[in-house]
Amino acid sequence: MTGTTTAPPAVRRNRAARPVQYVLLVLVAVLAFGPVYWLISSALKPGQDIYRYPPEWIPTRLRWQNFADAWNAVPFGHFFVNSSVVAVAGTALELLFAVLCAYGFAFLAFPRKRLLFLVLLGAMMVPGNVTLLPNFLTIASLGWVNTWAGLIAPGLGSVFATFLLRQHFLTLPKEILEAARVDGAGHLRTLFTVVLPLSRPILVTVALVTIVTKWNDFIWPLIVTNSDSMRTLPIGLLYLNNVETSQNWGAILAGTVIVVLPILVVFLLAQRHIIAGLTQGATK
């Protein structure tokens, strides 16, 4: 209403603030991404350049040998396979179980269903650190220490994925499900041919967040594996840190890049999904 009379000073003030805001923006960007840049650029430098003082901001000579050094110092091939198996197979199974469970809670009748749902949500209150020792004993009694099964099993139950999927399923138009039923489709077929195709975005989101979480997992793989051939990448990196001394930062940093690069690529390609998934609870 009176906006036209008050706008000019506000706009002018805004314009005066612009340069300051841009300086701050650059500062934030440098603080956030600078360390990652420093990691990647240093991993490409020969030793003398890594240890140069004052620092060399842009690598002049590249030394890819750092990566070979890292790869040969510890069995990175094993780590890579183990991490991939755990992340991919673990995510596939967790997602399958979550989808089934979410479908049950969204579309099937059961007495006291709400109570069971609360039991499900309650599992979120249990901190991972509290479960370490008993879970190790359980896995040990199953004879699964130092196996893929042992790495994967404790992470297969999910609250987060189930909750998000159920919330989404409840928003699907009832008529489509009715139509499927009238066509004679059972619940399993309705789930796989009607509900899931309609839920692709949320499935992608949940899958990405799950796979990233599993790839990054540290404490459980540390506990449940005990041989180099069964370690995952994050534990392998800890091992590399111990094998190489700080005199060989080149190899250590190259190893770090090997661990981080897949995650960074996935993140850059699918950041919309990943950010949405990780920040979901805030806006529910």
Binding site: A32, L120, I252
Partner: protein
């Protein structure tokens, strides 16, 4: 999915069942109950076995003395708790945990909110910066720890020339017990800030513009608008961030394992590290389980308190 069975012959299932009267209906209902149980069973089996059972078993273990190999678990009642809560080392761990959690959570909130306010301005490239700011949150913790060990390296690290540029001597960050906890907090701030900032940014973008225009007409300056409008309106967001951050920070482990291993001289030994160390390095199951149950109790209490406290302030929307 492409191998789905061909459409079944349309069986008039419903009318038939209905004509069979109440018993048919009951049978169908029972079938649906069974189906429900079958659908939720896999997820529930894993949650019961690997989330609920561990709480019960930890509670039991915390009442015993056991070295994790001998066949006998000796029942000792509340001795483990009595020992822990009078052990200066454990009280030190609790104190370190408090400093660490407060430092990380308060720091991430303040820096995160400030960053979100900046990213909420109509600036060029702000989306790229948003991506850059969030990236550390998804980067593998073990890698983050290694990277910052390099930056903090007293001989070759980036910290040395950066502090040298303003005439300061860089401390031996992670090997000096006065600095190690601070260094660790800095690393976690770097990792978490983007997460907090992006959540607040989403909140900011949902705020009603008219309110701000009205407030500006009433002569409210930027700081007043922030304090009287933005913060109260965003209190649900704050609640979520606070709870998430506290729970996450209590469980911080990977970066500590890589950077300090709880040292030097226990300076970075927080509760999560203590539980691991007691369980898997000194094989004292009773103390590890006692520490775990204490952590569980503390987190439940904090979450409950936060919920209650914020309930009164959250009702703006």
């Amino acid at each position: 999915m492409s191998t789905a069975p061909p459409p079944a012959v349309p069986v008039p299932a419903e009318p038939a069942a209905a004509s069979r009267g109440p018993s048919g209906l009951r049978r169908r209902r029972r079938r649906e109950y069974q189906l429900f149980l079958a659908f939720i069973a896999p997820n529930f089996v894993f949650l019961l076995l690997f989330a609920y059972w561990p709480v019960v078993y930890s509670a039991y273990l915390s009442l015993t003395r056991w070295d994790m190999v001998s066949p006998v678990k000796r029942f000792v009642g509340l001795d483990n708790y009595a020992d822990l809560l009078t052990d200066p080392d454990f009280l030190g761990v609790l104190w370190t945990t408090l400093l660490f959690v407060v430092g990380v959570v308060a720091g991430s909130l303040i820096i995160g909110i400030a960053t979100s306010l900046l990213l909420n301005q109509r600036l060029r490239a702000r989306n790229a910066v948003r991506t850059a700011v969030f990236a550390p949150y998804v980067v593998t913790g073990a890698a983050v720890g290694t990277l910052w060990l390099f930056i903090f390296d007293p001989n070759y690290g980036l910290l040395k020339p950066l502090m040298g540029a303003v005439g300061l001597n860089a401390p031996a960050m992670m090997t000096d017990s006065h600095w190690a906890l601070i260094g660790l907090i800095v690393v976690y701030l770097w990792k978490n800030t983007g997460f907090v900032a992006v959540i607040y940014l989403a909140g900011l973008q949902g705020l009603p513009r008219e309110l701000y225009e009205a407030a500006e007409l009433d002569g409210a300056g930027p700081w007043t608008r922030f304090r009287r409008l933005t913060l109260p309106l965003l209190s649900p967001v704050t609640f979520f961030v606070l709870v998430t951050m506290v729970i996450q920070t209590f469980q911080a482990f990977d970066i500590i394992a890589v950077m300090t291993g709880g040292g030097p001289a226990n300076a970075t030994s927080i509760l999560s590290w203590f539980i691991y160390q007691q369980g898997f390095q000194t094989f004292d199951a009773g103390r590890a389980a006692g520490g775990a149950i204490i952590m569980f109790a503390v987190l439940l209490t904090i979450t409950g308190l936060q919920a209650r406290f914020l309930e009164r302030r959250v009702h703006y929307r």
